[in-house]
Symmetry: C2
Subunit: 455 residues, 2 copies
């Protein structure tokens, strides 16, 4: 009886003894579509941490959350890698028309903006409907004025409109302005301001800079069109925060080729007003996909999930390169997920990768997900991996449905409810298939060395 009882107890304790069998890439793909890991990770990050700008206490909570989450999900070799940053932390902000039609404006200061004096600045405005028109004005044209650029961003043309936010304040200052406000870089017309980094030009007197919500930008344009001078008061406060950020990573070690490392991930930091889609979703998708791709620890190459610690101010990628210069030759493939969670449309691979065996079946495996394998080489694989890609690490890149992305981007509306679980899981499935194939191949994705030029 005693022996029999002990045997029964042992069975109860270890649970049903179903032998775990290796899954095929197709089975991994299908399992991903109903897997809850990505959603659970994102729900946890947005609930327990929330917005997490580098340099703030929230970024430290995010670091601790990341370590605990990777451990909980079975990652090993968990690393917390500090690196120096120059942080910028938002204080109280407001803007209003003081005359002739007093109204409040919806704004967010731009990252790196200088603060105004405590009482704010008040000045007449000059409004341009394009950035080019503003740039066409001569030196001294804006003396004593606040410059407004009210140029709606077309669709997803974020890159083309970048200067409006990044260098507009410096360009206005060069022409005498005392303040600068740009229409938020979004095609949406909801009353959210969308923040983001500005990049003051060295040697130009810095002036306070903010993003206006589209309705507030339109309002100023309508007021200005009436003729009489429109006066605006803007108050921006900000201060440096902490001088350290942390990139957190964890590995699913390869069984037979642990020193061949596939480096993927998202960025852990976010703007101080959102952070679910940008880039909680990237963290969630890559973490979930790596686990599924490892297929219960059967991955031959190492899968490394990296949560970069300061993308928004563009520090983390170069820090990661500097810290990992010695092991770059071990990095066989890389990509970052950082354009939302609305589903993958296409993927691109390193030049020549489709000539080898690793991805021979990729197109067929992704077809049910409606993800196309494009023949062109990967581009835009992520801000945090561009530095290591620049050093020769092969990259792949997913192209996503970005039609809603800039409605939410860098705004307070970037919240968990905006994420569609099914669309996010379609991405998890596509990533998991690709990672599973790559992690169980011995294909070298680096281009063959160039032939020495003929003499």
């Amino acid at each position: 009886m005693k022996t029999a009882f002990a045997l029964v107890l042992a069975l109860v304790l270890i649970g049903p003894a179903v032998a775990q069998t290796a899954s095929t890439p197709a089975a991994i793909r299908d399992a991903a579509l109903t897997d809850s890991t990505a959603w659970d990770v994102l729900e946890s990050l947005t609930t327990e941490v929330g917005p997490r700008l580098a340099g703030t206490p929230a970024a430290e909570r995010a670091r601790d959350w990341a370590v605990a989450k990777l451990r909980e999900l079975g990652f090993s070799n968990i690393r917390v890698e500090p690196f120096p940053i120059q942080s910028w932390v938002r204080g109280a902000e407001s803007a209003e028309v003081t005359g002739p039609y007093p109204q409040k404006l919806t704004i967010l200061g731009l990252g790196r903006s200088v603060p105004t004096p405590p009482g704010g600045i008040e000045a007449p405005i000059v409004v341009f409907s394009t950035y080019a028109e503003m740039l066409a004005q001569p030196e001294g044209a804006f003396t004593g004025k606040i410059v407004i650029v009210n140029q709606p961003m077309r669709a997803t043309e974020y890159g083309a409109f970048g200067p409006n936010r990044r260098t507009g304040a410096s360009e206005a200052s060069r022409r005498g302005a005392v303040g600068y406000m740009t229409r938020s870089l979004t095609p949406a017309t909801t009353d959210f301001a969308h923040t983001g980094a500005s990049n003051p030009i060295a040697g130009v007197t810095p002036i306070p800079a903010a993003a206006l919500s589209p309705p507030s930008a339109d309002l100023l344009a309508r007021m200005a069109a009436r003729g009489p001078p429109v006066r605006v008061r803007m108050k921006l406060d900000s201060a440096p925060g902490g001088s350290t950020a942390w990139t957190v990573s964890g590995d699913l070690p390869g069984t037979t080729r642990p020193d061949e490392i596939i480096v993927i991930g998202g960025h852990l930091d976010s703007w101080d007003v959102g952070g679910a889609v940008d880039d909680g979703a990237g963290i969630a998708v890559t973490t979930a996909a790596a686990r599924l791709a490892s297929n219960g620890g059967r991955n031959q190459r190492t899968l490394r999930v990296v949560m970069w610690g300061a993308e928004e101010m563009a520090f983390a990628g170069s820090a990661y390169l500097a810290a990992h210069q010695g092991e770059l030759s071990k990095f066989v493939l890389t990509s970052e997920s950082d354009t939302g969670a609305d589903g993958a449309l296409a993927v691109r691979l390193p030049v020549g990768a489709l000539n080898g065996p690793a991805f021979a079946n990729l197109a067929g495996l992704l077809e049910p997900l409606k993800v196309v394998v494009e023949p062109a080489a990967a581009t835009g694989a992520g801000d945090d991996v561009s530095a290591i890609i620049g050093q020769g690490v092969p990259a792949f890149s997913f192209r996503l449905d970005g039609s809603r992305y800039f409605d939410l981007h860098h705004s307070a509306d970037d919240t968990l409810d905006k994420v569609d679980k099914a669309k996010m899981n379609q991405m998890v499935a596509a990533w998991a298939v690709l990672l599973n194939l790559a992690a169980n191949s011995n294909q070298n994705f680096r281009p063959p060395p160039a032939l020495a030029p003929a003499r």
Copy 2:
């Protein structure tokens, strides 16, 4: 020569002497579709005044704007009718989770909420997913707590969800709560809080009350579901403002029956965060429609456009009744436009009105606008006219496409860009046709006196 020259000059000065001919109702309808009056009125109000809560300086600017606009548009007998209000003016507001997961919350205090002490209140929360569940709790159940009701409003069921905002704080207070926050009354999930009046129950200790944005309400629910107590700090400031509001009206006097008055309009006041759709659009539509309906001053009955001065706190309708008790018998028909500008779907008339000649052609005239004349009697003709309707003034009511209305309602996103000019002009056309028919009829829309009951 001298005489001939003077004649030529006179012709030049008075412009082309085209005799103005009377338009038909169909021609008025068609002209309305491309008329710019409604848009111009709304553009002017939102640009030159903006949000205009009763009791604030903006409400005084709105009053002056209304007088000038009615004059500019050719109205006469312009009246400014003051009436007493108990105003409530928002001060600084904020709310945040202090632990275990510190995050900021997006809120707007509810109208009539008491302020918190200057340092705010901080307390553990209790979250309910329905209002009924909260009401089911016994006395003392919430002692020392902040009560959260996170019940998403279904579609346009604003009325059914009214108690969540209006009496929730009193009901929570009865059960011991120290603060109350309701999920905003909106089906949308954007990160806007939607304010509105609360109606504290007499004799119940008032507690601070606010509306949460849907994402913030969901966030609190997710945090609370984890088990450990969640603590929230809320800070609300408010103060009484001015004690007078103004209803402004103007007439297009009737040619043959000036003492038969059709009373239409919208409300001039708005919440302090929006006011384009609610109810700038109502002002714009009715003002434009009355002008078109008058057909160059040919209206036989008087068309009166009223801009009621304090709808949001529900004072203006009864004040209007009190001030006009003596001329109620002159009011032949009334309606208010106060559910947006997304186009009319249907109209209802006073009981029996379709039996007379006035509206015999109405259905055919509205058919090209895709507006249906429904046989049922008018309902919900507007908060500001319900008091005079209660005294027997016949009413008509348009039913609008309200599918977007509560996405914007009482939020900062209620801005001019949300108005579709073509949809608004479809409303102008429908109103103008109806008003033109009514203003040129001698039909009495009051029901015939009831027969004396048989003895």
